[in-house]
Subunit: 446 residues, 2 copies
Amino acid sequence: MKRIEPRVLKGFRDFLPENQRRRIDLQKQLEKTFRSYGFVPIDTPVLEYTEVLLGKGGGDTDKQIYRFQDNGGRDVSMRFDLTVPFARYMAAHRSELYLPFRRYHIDKVWRGENTQRGRYREFAQCDFDIVGPDSGEADLEILLLMRDALASIGIENISIRVAHRGLFNRFLSRLGVEDKSVEILRLVDKVHKIGREELSTQLTELVDSEKASAIISYISPQETGLKKPASSSENFSVIDMLEESAGGQDEDSSRLRYLFEQLEASGNGAAFRIDPSITRGLDYYTGVVFETFLEDLPSLGSVCSGGRYNDLAGLYTKESLPGVGSSIGLDRLIAGMEELGISGSKTAVCEVLILNFSPSLSGAYHRLARALRNAGISCEIFPEAKKLGAQFQYAEKKGIPYALIMGEEEHKRGTVNLKNITTRENEDDLTPSDAAERLRRYLSHP
Amino acid sequence: MKRIEPRVLKGFRDFLPENQRRRIDLQKQLEKTFRSYGFVPIDTPVLEYTEVLLGKGGGDTDKQIYRFQDNGGRDVSMRFDLTVPFARYMAAHRSELYLPFRRYHIDKVWRGENTQRGRYREFAQCDFDIVGPDSGEADLEILLLMRDALASIGIENISIRVAHRGLFNRFLSRLGVEDKSVEILRLVDKVHKIGREELSTQLTELVDSEKASAIISYISPQETGLKKPASSSENFSVIDMLEESAGGQDEDSSRLRYLFEQLEASGNGAAFRIDPSITRGLDYYTGVVFETFLEDLPSLGSVCSGGRYNDLAGLYTKESLPGVGSSIGLDRLIAGMEELGISGSKTAVCEVLILNFSPSLSGAYHRLARALRNAGISCEIFPEAKKLGAQFQYAEKKGIPYALIMGEEEHKRGTVNLKNITTRENEDDLTPSDAAERLRRYLSHP
């Protein structure tokens, strides 16, 4: 028989149990935090009409999309983010939903990207948005939730960098280059990758050298390198400078100032700083924009980014739906956590192995297992009566810390022996409930 | 501007928050049960080489597969179940895994099926398997886990029907029709849909009428209608009859007898019964096979089915990997639960709304919110200072049971007012920690 090589596609991955468990537990913890803020989950299909995902034209993104004709001749595509399907969802279900609508969505997306730079073609995103109000309170909440969500999975040492697109555009307009705003914002977005010198060169090609240097000094009113957050007074003096460059106070600068005042008032100023070099590449942001860097690993890039948009679902509905949202790049974040040795909770895959002496004792083993599970202890029964050495070896490989021993003799007496697999210590002739009680204590179950 | 209709593809679905939350919570509960049995999660890509999923030939299933050429010219397909990717996974990672290997996998699969009978083209599966031993103990464990997993989500009144493919084949061979075994098993698999009379007609076309009636009487040694499980003695007498029809005792009949003895011994006999009309359509089962029916809604069909296979990954590796596994049809199960009014836990989406009197109080609101969240209470702040009527209306729509009220006055005094949104009762001038304490009590938090 000709066998098939069990390979996976380039840019796709299998997850071994240890990794997958960490991913699931991370997602669960994030979910718990989102729910504690009143965010609700939604789900949308992986496949959609291409027209729905890309608009009538299709356009540039095309090459990165998994797009094909289904068996019914429909032009369909796999989703490449969670934002476009959310926009379509809001338009489709507007009458069934209430505003303000807070949603989270954690799931996979697909992009046929170049895999050379360690990028994957299948990866998980974690989005959360508040749709409805265009208010500083909503912006503030997303910023605080970013901080709390990351803290809940053990990531405390971060810097969330905030800027305002509207303010930047007002500055560009004052400089007389508002017609090149999209290109300029995209160029500035790359400054952390290409460096300030290269940015200056490219800006000079786009506008003149005087204006290029004005832009450079706007985005770096002080050193905006990836250092510890500025003190709160520094944030306010930067806002003053930006406001002045943009021609004085207005709604946008007031919004920024409001955000930093309330971050202070809520006792959360330290993780946040103004950084006018943050622009986000995407066109649809219109207000505050933000990115999050790990202080201990800034080279990783932003692990949680987003901003305010004034019209989420304009492609599908005439109702204007402003909102603010953010997205955690789960795969990048997990890579960063591994590099920093932040592993998340490290509980045993399974806590107890019940050794198998004879198939005829299966019923009794399952009674014992049930008693343990009811006490909150995970346990498994070795599923055939192999030599005990092989059974112990299995427990060690899987990382199971305890074994329970019940042969014919013990079964008759109604007792079990408890073995610590690491230390090899035994405690013999325990009643099952006594064994369960000790295990709960050893495993520090509540 | 020409707008795009926000439609979804036929056979695909959006999930509204209430439904999606129920789905997530159901999955979490199942996961908890699987983990309590020592099962570990894995993940595989949604897209695979078509050759890997379908084998060299492709074959019949082709029409139901979402198959296309990716931008690199590769012939790829979306997974149509979780078993084939698992087989590929075991072959690819054999050296990194230990046997016996217990895995679970809950995720979506895609099939371009006819949507007329309420079938979906995107749906969730929930698989669990023990790979390694060909033992009665492993079969037993899967059967008990099926029962426990369903019980953990509130489904207690079930009948798990068990048969043995090997025994049936031995009977067919004794009848001299072993060459038609595949067709016969597939026909018998349909008996609950087509009825016994139609089955008899179709069998008679395949074999002669005498043999057809022998088959009919093999699969119905007594009335096997969808009634309460037989008493344990009935199960054993059916095993005796089947054994006799198949030509006497052998490994297969002993395995069946062993299973029912141990189900009794573990105190779990009641939910299980022998039903020789269960065959499962799929070719790869070789040993026990089983299906699960809701006693209160048998017409739903099986909600959890599986069996033993003697070679999981033969397409990819020469190592023989026997196993036993089962799969919960989550979407069908959820539909059944809705019909029966088994809704799962019904907790509020969010427990407390903090009313917004002024943007200038945002920092204070977030301090209050943090105190509640730290006490395990989910809460949200209305994200703009709208009229109070609108804020209360929102709380009612979203089903939030309590509101906290803190205007400028209360803020100065350091107090809050607590309002029960359903009864409209107020408790005024509470300290924040007193309010949190009362909320924990009212919401019965542990």
